[in-house]
């Protein structure tokens, strides 16, 4: 069996003697006999490193790693530069705790400060926190931020990622806010419907840009409508798209949130990912979670600290509006290194290439009978019908050929995605496979 205990049996005896104890069991004398476990745990015996690695490898081998991925829907395969992997595996970053001790944590604190700055650049917003669990919980936390005494209602676009909608609903069922969906019309949020839904107790509106179907929303108009009755607009953003499209700040959003996974994190079967949150100055004190600020030390040198902590659970306890304690610091670091490696031009190139490949994929699919469902400008995702053979059969055919096709939506629809890592050759191959099956 494996073990990470370093003291030898002889040392353990010596330690017991020093304490004045005959056996280790004596130290557990407070555990009453009627709750103590009298049998060994019913789990397998331990393994050597070789055995455990083989075991895990075997399990990993039961999964299919697709060479070509044409599926997104909230998780995107982008290229991860070598420098990103090299930096984030540095053990000081990996094995450090939360930087509460500023004197010995300047490296972690500065990396978060740099991350916050980059998120502000990307979103155009004034302030960013040190990150939260993921895009869905970021959206839910943002909704909770907007709650005021007389405003406890949230409107969420039906064109949002379903996981985001469900997470918002869960958080709201806890804190007592009510959630209503703004209906979809032709693949985008129905803003006329939003107008008719407006009410005095509306706290906020959540709209994704681009939305779940990859389509660009009219965020500026949504902002005007939302602000007309004093509610807040939350924009759910794709961080890659942000490098080329109008920022949520320019569009009038009060809070920008999103899933940061595309910024250098592997698909990882859904996690760990990164929830980013940024807001206007006016909302700063309502931002949940950790925030790093710049200050000086007693000798006047520049220094970084966790700040505005009085908002947080460890001080405010039951009066805190969020219980969040950790952030995804290591994922935030990953995102910061990714953005540094890409730079502004690289980020724009990733965005443009992803968008271009998706447009190419769509035109090729259309040419073999996969009809576009919504005829609207889109980023790197779009919806088609299932073509001649039907969506299910089409996706199965691709899967057999080592291609992860789009995601099957209801009613024989497919949500496709392409990123910069997909080559023209791969797209042509996928289309050829579909054409063959459709014959």
């Amino acid at each position: 069996m494996g073990s990470y205990i370093q003291s030898t049996k002889a040392q353990q005896q010596e330690m017991l003697q020093k304490i004045g104890c005959k056996s280790i069991e004596e130290l557990f004398s407070n555990v009453p006999s009627d709750v103590a476990l009298t049998r060994p745990l019913n789990i397998p015996e331990g393994m050597s490193e070789v055995e455990v690695m083989q075991y895990m490898q075997d399990m990993a081998d039961e999964n299919t790693v697709f060479k070509t991925v044409l599926r997104g829907a909230g998780a995107y395969r982008h290229y991860i530069p070598a420098i990103v992997k090299s930096v984030v595996t540095k053990e000081e970053f990996v094995t450090a705790y939360t930087p509460y001790q500023a004197e010995m944590s300047q490296g972690i604190l500065q990396s978060i400060f740099e991350y916050q700055t980059m998120i502000c650049s990307l979103t155009g917003m004034d302030v960013s926190n040190a990150s939260v669990y993921d895009g869905a919980s970021a959206a839910a936390e943002a909704v909770a931020m907007c709650r005021e005494r007389k405003r406890a209602k949230a409107f969420v676009s039906a064109c949002s990622n379903p996981d985001v909608i469900e997470t918002i609903k869960t958080y709201c069922s806890g804190n007592g806010m009510s959630v209503e969906l703004i209906p979809e019309k032709d693949g985008v949020t129905d803003l006329e419907a939003l107008k008719s839904m407006l009410c005095d107790d509306l706290a906020c509106v959540y709209i994704a840009q681009p939305n779940y179907y990859g389509i660009f929303e009219n965020l500026e108009e949504a902002s005007e409508i939302t602000h007309s009755i004093g509610a807040k607009l939350i924009a759910g953003c794709n961080p890659i798209a942000l490098s080329i499209i109008k920022t949520p700040f320019e569009a009038g959003a009060d809070i920008a949130v999103g899933e940061g996974q595309p910024l250098g994190m592997p698909l990882s079967f859904g996690g760990p990912y990164l929830g980013f949150m940024a807001a206007t100055n006016a909302m700063m004190r309502k931002l949940p979670g950790r925030i790093v600020g710049e200050t000086v030390d007693h000798d006047g040198r520049r220094a970084y600290v966790l700040t505005l902590q009085a908002r947080e659970q460890h001080i405010r306890r039951e009066k805190a509006s969020s219980n969040i304690c950790s952030n995804q610091a290591h994922c935030a670091l990953t995102a910061a290194v990714y953005m540094s490696a890409m730079g502004a031009d690289g980020m724009k190139e990733v965005a443009t290439q992803s968008m271009s490949k998706a447009h190419y994929l769509k035109s090729k699919l259309e040419s073999i009978g996969f009809e576009s469902v919504y005829d609207k400008p889109f980023f790197h995702e779009f919806v088609t019908t299932g073509g001649k053979m039907g969506a299910k059969k089409a996706l199965e055919a691709l899967e057999k050929n080592g291609i992860l096709g789009g995601l099957l939506l209801d009613d024989d629809k497919i949500l496709w995605c392409a990123t910069e890592v997909v080559t023209k050759k791969e797209i042509d191959k996928a289309v050829a496979v579909l054409e063959e099956v459709g014959k």
Partner: protein
């Protein structure tokens, strides 16, 4: 210890000042600001809010703590002091200038102490 004689005090260390015409100012005592340490933020109610005697109506933050501020009266808030919002350190530098809110329509009053009584209370507590 600075305890102005024209003010009334609570046992939870707030002060109440009569401005005449039924208007009152509320703040925290010099003793309170000293105990709380360097204040970094203040949460105030909004104009028009009703506040209740002996119940929290605001809170103040230091770096490592949050403390409720209790109202000496039941009344309606007519004005909040933007200055303490912008510069909470003004409470530390002059607790009796740095009022939190002005109120009207006082319908109920908590048990209030005169300056001498408050001083005696502080000595007792020490």
């Amino acid at each position: 210890m600075n305890i102005p004689s024209e003010l009334k005090f609570t046992r939870s260390h707030e002060w109440l000042k009569d401005l005449g015409n039924g208007t009152f100012e509320i703040g925290i005592s010099d003793f309170a600001q000293h105990e709380l340490g360097d204040l970094v933020f203040v949460n105030l109610p909004q104009e028009g809010d009703a506040i209740t005697a002996d119940e929290p109506f605001a809170d103040v933050e230091s770096v490592k703590a949050v403390s409720d501020i209790y109202s000496p009266v039941s009344a309606t808030v007519t004005e909040i002091n933007e200055e303490v919002l912008d510069a909470p350190e003004s409470i530390n530098s002059n607790a009796y200038e740095a009022w939190f809110v002005r109120v009207e329509n006082v319908t109920e009053t908590a048990e209030l102490l005169s300056a001498e009584e408050y001083e005696a209370f502080l000595n007792e507590e020490a």
